[in-house]
Symmetry: C2
Subunit: 292 residues, 2 copies
């Protein structure tokens, strides 16, 4: 049981965490701060937070649990804004989709306090963000990856495991670098491809007609293209090198298709599709521990 | 009301059409043929067809409605197999995802009978095909595009409109070429991208680990990658030039992302994502007529 959750960033991710903790009876009071005062006010009106804080510092003041739920690139500035008030007893976590940059910022900004910071990435979300969509079930049966470093205190890491578990998530650990490499492949690149497909169509004279013909396949393929521009700008930029490496691997795979299609090589094309199709048909979303 | 549906190809698409017609009381008897006798038998056991035919010719014999529901590249051979028994009264349709090649084959094979052939493309499907997944509701509230040519008989075109409407579809018309150009953009290319993403990951040493980390975004983005290799081989090859043109447009859009990411140009990147995100957030799947 926590006395006070200091929530920095009252959006979908932060709001859902607060609601989940409240419902599970894990927190007595949520003090929230968002860059936009109207968002903070709305979060209180919706009962997601109990008290509006006029600054990140005041949201953290008196907290024993801090969640930083801001676009990834704003993490460093947020840590700087609150570092003076942090105590060794506070558990501090983020929810960013990239981890190497966050961990580096935390080392530099938090210094001897870095042991209380447990970097977290819940594999959950919605293309429609915002406090209005906050949902206490967002993290239920979803994976949460923690990316501790050697200086992370064992006690705080255990508390982080416990709090996510208590709201129904399945928790595992990876190194920050391995995390970023993996999510470049299965999340960041797919987002870029979905964005690029939309833009490729929008650049054509017949765009409106083309879009009107999209069916269920188009709907699901492009769902993630509706994601928030600021959030995804940060994710893509903070995972630049791994993302470009994955884009390279993808280009190679795409070229194999284009060559087989251009050559009218049905045998090769069927094999290429067969490889993808078989793997995808056997794939299941993992709600448990990754298989490694 | 039709006396007999001659169904050639007892898979998901053909089986669902038969079930829908039966439920709507639009057909007295369904005679079905599939290349694999065990599929035909299974279709009868499941009640999708009433009579098993040992050949396409015998499925068509006595039919007043014929549906060709085979992989696109098999359409020509199918038309050749049945042309001697076709009568001007029969309405003949297909369900292929590409239309220019089908129309050309129909002109050449059917000659003076081509007026009874109404090329159709229902925008519906499932990545898991097969007669076991046949569903009388597959076409409900889905678009069906008819691509008549100048020689298509008005009476047969009207009957085609009526039968799809009667099972809940929303019917519109396009030229075969405009159809293929449009679906290269909103269906065929997305399939290629989903296949290529899977193959790009599968080619990496850590493939199993990477795949285990895919979340809801990955699930939806790659759903169509599980599609049938033979069916999609045919679709991609029969729409080769439009598809490669769309792949080119996509590559341009992807390069814009890669350049902004490599340059760390957050402003451009946010704009690129914003364009895609705004368009996708306002997009709705169309169950009615396309907006043109």
């Amino acid at each position: 049981m926590f006395e006070q959750l200091g929530l920095i960033g009252c959006g979908l991710m932060g709001g859902s965490f607060a609601l989940a903790l409240k419902r599970a009876g894990l927190v007595r009071r949520v003090v929230g701060y968002s860059k936009s005062p109207s968002t903070t006010e709305r979060a209180r009106q919706l009962g997601v937070i109990d008290v509006e804080a006029p600054s990140a510092l005041l949201a953290v003041s008196g907290a024993d649990l801090v969640l930083i739920a801001v676009p990834v690139a704003a993490t460093e500035a947020t840590l700087k804004a609150i570092r003076h008030i942090l105590t060794p007893e506070m558990l501090i976590m983020d929810v960013g989709s990239t981890k190497a940059g966050v961990v580096q910022a935390a080392r530099e900004v938090l210094r001897e306090q870095v042991g209380s910071f447990v970097p977290a990435h819940p594999i959950a979300g919605l293309e429609r963000g915002g406090i209005e969509n906050a949902d206490p079930d967002l993290y239920r049966d979803r994976q949460v990856i923690l990316t501790p470093i050697e200086r992370t205190r064992t006690h705080q890491l255990q508390r982080a495991h416990a709090v996510w578990k208590a709201i129904g998530s399945h928790v595992s650990e990876m190194s920050p670098d391995a995390h970023d490499a993996a999510f470049a492949a299965v999340s960041h690149l797919p987002h870029v491809l979905a964005f690029a497909l939309m833009n490729g169509i929008l650049g054509q004279a017949q765009a409106a007609q083309l879009l009107s013909l999209g069916g269920p396949g188009f709907r699901d393929f492009t769902r993630i293209a509706a994601s928030d521009p600021k959030v995804w700008r940060d994710i893509l930029l903070t995972n630049r090198s791994e993302l470009l490496r994955q884009a390279q691997a993808f280009r190679g795979a795409l070229e194999a298709f284009e060559q087989a299609i251009a050559a009218g090589d049905g045998e090769t094309l069927e094999k290429l599709i067969g490889t993808a199709s078989q793997a995808r048909a056997h794939w299941r979303i993992s709600s448990g521990k990754p298989h490694f």
